[in-house]
Amino acid sequence: MERFSPGAGGRDDIEAVVEKVKNGDRQAYAVIIRAFEHQIYTYCYYILKNREEAEDALQDIFIKVYQSIDKYNRQVSFSSWLYKVAYYHCLDQLRKKSRRKKLIDDQKELQQLDDHRQTSSERAVEELLMNLKPEERNLVLLKVVEQYSFEEIGEIMDCKPATLRKKYERVRKKLIQQKSKEGGLTHERMVRSN
């Protein structure tokens, strides 16, 4: 079951819809929202670590994008542009959050993240992700989950692709280290059987 995700082929369809919106077809924007809302929700959720905040951010981001849609000129893909707004919006939210009392909030948030329907390996992955710093998590979300190229991520984050490659290498190593610490025994067994 293919989810409508803008990739090769889908990309042009999205650009066509964006043109319609720019030309005054307000209702066409609903198509854009439906195409991207799930991705943007999960992105915000993993950055902000909070369901309600992710919901609010999702809506604010789409409103911001709509308000500035006249400025979109196809110099980057529409989805990069959308993620750029999402990235900066979440950064803003994180900054505002850090001014509040963090201790109790973190505890309650981690409790909220415990979704009983998840498998243990899914929970392990979530813990892995949530233990990263927001900047690192952001990179993982864009590179590993949404599979953007470093050039595209560079456009989203206003950063040189080369710098991002280095940062990503560091995050990768961090992830492997953490994973192998947990899967340590299994790995040893495999080595011996070789």
Binding site: M1, E2, R3, F4, S5, N23, G24, R26, Q27, Y29, A30, I33, R34, A35, F36, E37, H38, Y41, T42, Y45, Y46, N50, R51, E52, E55, L58, Q59, F62, I63, Y66, Q67, D70, R100, K101, I104, D105, K108, E109, Q111, Q112, Q118, S121, E122, V125, E126, L128, L129, V140, L141, V144, V145, Q147, R172, L175, I176, K179, G183, M190, V191, N194
Partner: protein
Amino acid sequence: MSAWLDQTEEEQMMQIRRTVKQRKMPEVSYADRIMERVENMDRRSRRLSHRKGSWAKKTAISVSAAAVLGGVVLGSGFVSPVMADALKKVPLIGSVFQYNLDPSLKQASVSGLTTAPNLSVTRDGLTMSIKEVMYDGTRLAFMIERQGMDDDTVLSPYLPEGATNVSGEAQKKVPVEQQKKGYMFMPEVTIQGKTGFFGSFTDAVGKTEDGKFIRNMAMYEITSGLSEKQLPNEFDMTVKMNVSGFKEPFEFQVPVKNLAKGNVVLHPNQTQSSGSFSYTVKSIEITPVTTRLILDSKGSVPSTPEQSGEFSATKMYYDIVDQDGKPLDQKMIGFFHQNPKTEYHEDETYSPFAQKPTSITIKPYTMTVKNDWSVVEDGKGQPVKTYHKDLEMTIPVQ
């Protein structure tokens, strides 16, 4: 060996991707909500064309004079408790709000604050009628009745245009020709050229005297955002409702009248604070049908020593009492399974005052929740309220 390590990493990345993508959104879609906001935003660009009215289309439009129900419109619209009781016992012919689950709509109908526009549109043996309208300046509600078929289902189970499921897939729509006729989609309301109101549509519209649920009827209500539009006391509203099995919507030109006299709108802009928490009351609307409180709050909720450890305080809620301390009922109280935020914009409706008060007092309170977000209750099963006297605010009503 290195191939194994690579595979582990590849697998690991795929697992991360899978886990993240599997996370579902709390709602099916936010598109409607966002589009409502989009439509409400101030437009500066003249490139955006307004939707043309559908008068040119071949739809049957019914226009007719409105009749005032009940005939008992007292001077100020406020009814004395004794009178209210007496009126409740008189069944009104033609009134459907009098059976409503919402006691203030019942009251409105009984005290003559609603109108019965007598508008019907019939197509293919199916008649849709707008039976009764209530407008008090801050809330607008109307009832739509279906005749020509008897079915338990009133609201359309079919998906409207552009629906998608959780993963963003466009849902397969049943084509109009194949749909069963007669199920209502959420109406689209236009007032003075404006659309995009925060509306609710329900088929739970009340019980008749013999305790049976009312059938073949639905109620549409605009619950907020009306008073700031500063509409006149009389205006026309266009209601366009799509019905399953029909290509063209059923359309009504509905005359709306605010019969509630003695309405008061206050803008106190008064602030009360305690510690780091403060709230500012932006407006209070008092009508014979509704009391509305709009305020903004900032800061963390104050908590008592009892609200610690495995207990914690909820967000702030607000009770309203009159000069004699008599409280109103809040129409709906939301419970949130999360820590309170530090900024709120509250727009809450309460039951009406029986008489116009000379002053009102706002009494903020929190409730207490346990670690699993369940609310702590007293012996009678009522949530325990922790009032904050130092945050009370009294506002005179001219």
